[in-house]
């Protein structure tokens, strides 16, 4: 049985072809690695925009669209199955945006550019694959494809950490990241095998698995397994320790991809598998999950407060913001679910912006320590204004996308008629103050105040360097003012997920 549409396959295939083209090309300046990767990611960006905003995608239709389905290993129930619905289409758009901005952010890489762009394109292909994959085997395959090149990217092109109390070398950060992510992949491997085998007929395809009724005991034990597996990727506390070192040691483009989409792969996985397939499991574990979510928010914020290295500040803020996603999932109502998905999109763009600008600051001043900067706004007003916009988006200023996300999630939590949830909401909203503190303090220390003598000769961003921050800011503002862009697409799918949950869990609200 074959269904073929080709759009999603070409999304995955273009970066891979780009990587192959880069490897096979000689050192001919005309077809440089940068040009090839720009073309590949531009293709992905335009295609994802077309799919998202075009008329071909119907948000109200049930099931999956743009499906590619080919039997691959029928004896084991594995097929090549791609498709989009309201849950992963915003993620596909996010990947499209981040692909091209990551390439633009790496424009000045001069050390072994061929290998860098080839590996980066492989990572982007893997990320596309994870989001559109409807077969668990291929999901795992693309997950691994995305994570392996990151080891080399960090270990060769990264930078060492500069925390005064703990200097981490980039090789250490890379190794910790890869082993941790592989361990998460191992847990997912076992969980997927268990999922597939307990279906009436051995199958790895998600639409088939959606119809299976798993036993209560099975759901009770496999739900945490899946949550831990995807949570390792998503920065769930206490499995987040690879995140600060990994994100900070990575080169700029990789930090953007890691924080922008890799974390969201975990969040998307949580939404797609445990929260959809295991109503009983959700019922048993949702309170624990909510508590861990709030720990993420509070712990991440307080850790970020202490940091002196700009990339570590942004990394810990990522942990904190992913906590909002987890809380949104724990609400079990459509407002919270929409908020969680919205936060995944918004935070992806915002954190990519912050990491891109942090990378630019590092390029200009060659230091990542906040304390060694001062008054940069006088020399680099454009950089300063974009960073301020990014910081305000991250702390949730209205008209920017972060506000909508946090508002939806906290409204969702408050809608749950449970005093415990209300306490969690208050804790979360209170942490916004801490978020504002560390972000604005960083802004103040880097950009405002007296100009540090060392930087009196710095120039502002060049034209090429301005493109990707502006692109990201456009999305932040547009989605912040017209949030229906995201919610119109996602609401129907999430509502059907909730309907499924409501059959088992009483009290799941509209």
């Amino acid at each position: 049985m074959i269904e073929w549409n080709g759009v999603l396959t070409s999304l995955i295939l273009m970066p891979i072809l780009g990587a192959i083209a880069i490897i096979c090309s000689s050192k001919n300046e005309f077809i440089s690695p940068r040009a090839i990767s720009l073309i590949a990611t531009l293709f992905g960006f335009i295609l994802s925009l077309a799919v998202y905003f075009g008329n071909a995608f119907n948000p109200l239709a049930p099931g999956f669209q743009f499906v590619d389905h080919i039997e691959w290993l029928p004896s084991l129930g594995i097929s090549y199955y791609l498709g989009v619905d309201g849950m992963n289409l915003p993620m596909v758009l996010l990947t499209g945006i981040l692909g091209i901005t990551a390439v633009l952010a790496s424009w000045k890489i001069d050390k072994r550019p061929k290998e860098f762009f080839a590996l980066a394109l492989l990572v982007i292909a893997g990320v596309y694959g994870v989001f559109v994959s409807l077969d668990l085997f291929f999901l795992l395959l693309f997950y691994e494809l995305a994570s392996i090149p990151i080891y080399f990217l960090i270990a060769i092109w990264g930078s060492d950490g500069t925390n005064p109390w703990r200097a981490t070398k980039k090789e250490y950060a890379a190794l910790k990241l890869i082993l941790y992510l592989q361990f998460g992949g191992a847990i997912l491997f076992i969980s997927f095998l268990l999922l597939a085998i307990n279906a009436p007929q051995l199958t790895f395809s998600i639409p088939e698995l959606l119809k299976v009724q798993y036993s209560q005991a099975f759901q009770h034990w496999v739900f945490p397994l899946l949550v831990i597996g995807f949570g390792i990727e998503a920065g769930l506390w206490p499995f987040h320790t690879w995140l600060p070192d990994g994100h900070s040691a990575a080169p700029t483009a990789m930090s953007m991809i890691l924080a922008g989409v890799l974390l969201k792969m975990g969040g998307y996985g949580l939404m797609r598998l445990p929260f959809t397939l295991f109503p009983q499991g959700v019922h048993d574990w949702v309170l624990v999950f909510a508590v861990i979510g709030i720990i993420n928010i509070v712990y991440g914020a307080f850790c970020a407060l202490k940091q002196k290295d700009i990339k570590y500040i942004v990394a810990y803020s990522s942990i904190s913001h992913m906590g909002i996603v987890f809380l949104g999932l724990a609400t079990l109502n459509i407002i919270g679910f929409n908020g969680a998905l919205f936060q995944m999109f918004s935070h992806g763009v915002v954190t990519a912006l912050l990491f891109a600008l942090a990378g630019l600051i590092y390029e200009k001043t060659h230091t990542r320590l906040v304390t060694e900067h001062g008054g940069l706004a006088q020399r680099m007003p454009f950089l300063a204004s974009t960073f301020v916009i990014g910081a305000l988006a991250s702390l949730g200023l209205p008209t920017l996308s972060g506000f909508v996300a946090e508002f939806l999630v906290f409204l969702g939590i408050w809608s749950v008629p449970d005093r415990f949830y209300h306490i969690l909401a208050m804790l979360g909203i209170g942490t916004l103050v801490i978020t504002a503190t560390y972000l604005l303090r960083a802004v103040q220390k880097i950009f405002y105040g007296p100009l540090n003598e060392k930087y009196s000769t710095l120039a502002d961003l060049s034209f090429i360097e301005k493109i990707h921050p502006v692109l990201l800011i456009i999305f932040i503002i547009v989605v912040g003012i017209f949030p229906s862009i995201i919610t119109d697409v996602s609401t129907m799918t999430l509502t059907s997920v909730l309907d499924n949950l409501r059959n088992i869990i009483p009290g799941v609200m509209q």
Binding site: S75, F189, I190
Partner: protein, 507 residues
């Protein structure tokens, strides 16, 4: 009696004898011509066994129909069976021998060797393995195992004039010989116990004596018979370097010449796994629950011993020895999941064996290449900066290590997926979990060499570029292609494994 079924063995034996005779007439300096003759001969044998019709039938047609027989017969005598698994494994051994011969043409050109016996010895080992996979009689099995092992003892000691570091190759050969003889003695003792209690040395007769009272869940076979079978299992486990019978492997792998070790790390393992499948899973299936318990214990110990001990190795050949122990652990985990009605693990074991074969040949191929060109290649430090000196070799090494670690989209990932799927299907989720965790642990030491190749700078005293060796490069190309193809398009090999297994049910 259809002796036509013995054609592969007859051809290999003839080629071996021919090579010994030709060797007499070749000068000391020109011994590498023997390699070309060997390669040509093996290619001819592969061609003949697959493509030439005998009395109007292809040799493998015998296994094409469900009632496999060649002119009505599929056995030469009751102890020699020719079915699909035997045929496929025989071809695999020939291909391995061909690859190793090509890889090592330049390795053995060194004046240190100057003797041409290595090539007929390779063929004697192949002959022994061919008999092993077809054997359903104890004495034939024992003779075949000895025919496999004794030339390997000699070949492990082949590099007798080492640089300055003493006679490490001779030491390896001697250790292998003594420990291998001990294992063979145990094997023979087990076989004699079996003969004593069953009065027959034919596997099918022995199987009739194995009874298991399923109602009472009690073993009703004579205990001494089971002990005999356990001795046989132990002797076989030695040959595949399953822990805790693995102690010989690191020393022998470190000391022996690289081509011999390349051959030793893939071929006998495949042969013995085929024997294990034929004996313990197919014929001795009344006691299957007992055998799977033992396999799972061996698997767990092998996986942990192999992976944990490999973490500290600085010698690449030694590290590959320990990694081989761990890989055998994964294969045994697949065998341990065998249950009536669920043979996915066993099919996965056959798939993984083939994937492991090409992968290990690629890894050892790089070691052989480096040893042939610059004389180094044994230590992790020799690989520093290899990505800049020879990006192609570094890529082959990286791909083979990533495949061994079980990363997609390579052959090792599919193999491990298959194996652990079989394990989970049989309810052995703990075994699959241990296997998967071990794969992650193994990534650490595989990445260490990748790190040296790609991240480190080229040391000052190393040559900037490497000369190119045509035959070895050709083999590396083919194995690289195979690793990636099996990973991306595994369906043909997967269906071959299922077909092999369907034909194994004893008559």
């Amino acid at each position: 009696m259809s002796y036509e079924l013995l054609i592969p063995e007859i051809l290999v034996g003839t080629l071996a004898l021919l090579l010994i005779i030709i060797d007499l007439f070749i000068n000391k300096e020109k011994k590498h011509f023997l390699a070309h003759i060997t390669a040509f001969g093996i290619s001819a044998i592969i061609f003949i066994t697959i493509f030439v019709k005998i009395n109007g039938n292809y040799l493998f047609d015998t296994v094409g129909q469900l009632s496999f027989s060649f002119q009505g017969q599929n056995t030469v005598f009751q102890g020699f069976v020719f079915d699909r698994m035997a045929f496929v494994f025989k071809e695999i051994f020939l291909v391995i021998a061909l690859f190793v011969t090509y890889l090592s043409i330049d390795f053995f050109k060194d004046a240190r060797f100057g003797r041409g016996e290595i090539y007929p010895l390779f063929l004697c080992v192949v002959l022994g393995m061919m008999f092993m996979v077809s054997a359903t009689e104890l004495i034939l099995l024992f003779v075949a195992i000895e025919l496999t092992s004794i030339p390997l003892y000699i070949m492990a000691a082949f590099k007798h004039k080492n640089n300055n570091s003493g006679n490490i190759s001779g030491e390896a050969g001697l250790k292998y010989f003594i420990l291998g003889s001990l294992a063979s003695a145990l094997l023979l003792f087990g076989m004699s116990l079996i003969y004593a209690y069953t009065g027959s040395s034919f596997i099918s007769e022995i199987a009739k004596h194995l009874t298991f009272d399923t109602i009472e869940s009690q073993l009703t076979t004579p205990p001494a018979l089971v002990v005999g079978l356990l001795f046989v299992l132990g002797g076989l486990a030695f040959k595949i370097t399953a822990a805790p019978f693995h102690m010989w492997a690191p020393d022998v792998y470190e000391g022996g010449p690289a081509p011999v070790i390349a051959f030793l790390s893939v071929a006998p393992k495949g042969a013995v796994i085929a024997v294990l499948i034929r004996l313990f899973i197919t014929y001795f299936s009344p006691l299957l629950s007992g055998w799977t318990l033992i396999f799972s214990i061996l698997a767990v110990i092998s996986m942990f011993a192999g992976n944990l001990l490999a973490l500290h190795q600085e010698n690449v050949k030694r590290m590959l020895a320990y990694s081989g122990i761990a890989q055998v652990g994964y294969v045994l985990a697949g065998l341990a999941s065998a249950k009536p009605g669920n043979m996915t693990g066993v099919e996965g074991a056959i798939f993984y064996l083939i994937a492991y074969t090409v992968t290990n040949l690629a890894a050892f191929g790089v070691i052989i290449y480096l040893s042939s060109t610059i004389g180094k290649g044994e230590f992790v430090n020799d690989y520093k900066g290899l990505a800049k000196r020879s990006p192609w070799l570094a890529l082959v090494m990286l791909v083979s290590f990533l495949s061994l670690a079980g990363l997609p989209p390579l052959a090792g990932f599919i193999g491990k997926f298959y194996l652990f799927l079989g394990a989970v299907k049989s309810g052995l989720v703990w075994l699959a979990a241990i296997g998967v965790v071990n794969s992650v642990i193994s990534l650490f030491y595989y990445l260490r060499i990748a790190k040296a190749m790609y991240l480190e700078e080229v040391p000052a005293d190393a040559s900037a570029t490497l000369p190119s060796l045509k035959p070895a490069s050709l083999v590396l190309w083919i194995t690289l292609f195979a690793i990636i193809t099996l990973g991306v398009y595994p369906a043909p090999l997967a269906s071959l494994s299922s077909e092999i297994f369907k034909m194994l049910i004893p008559l």
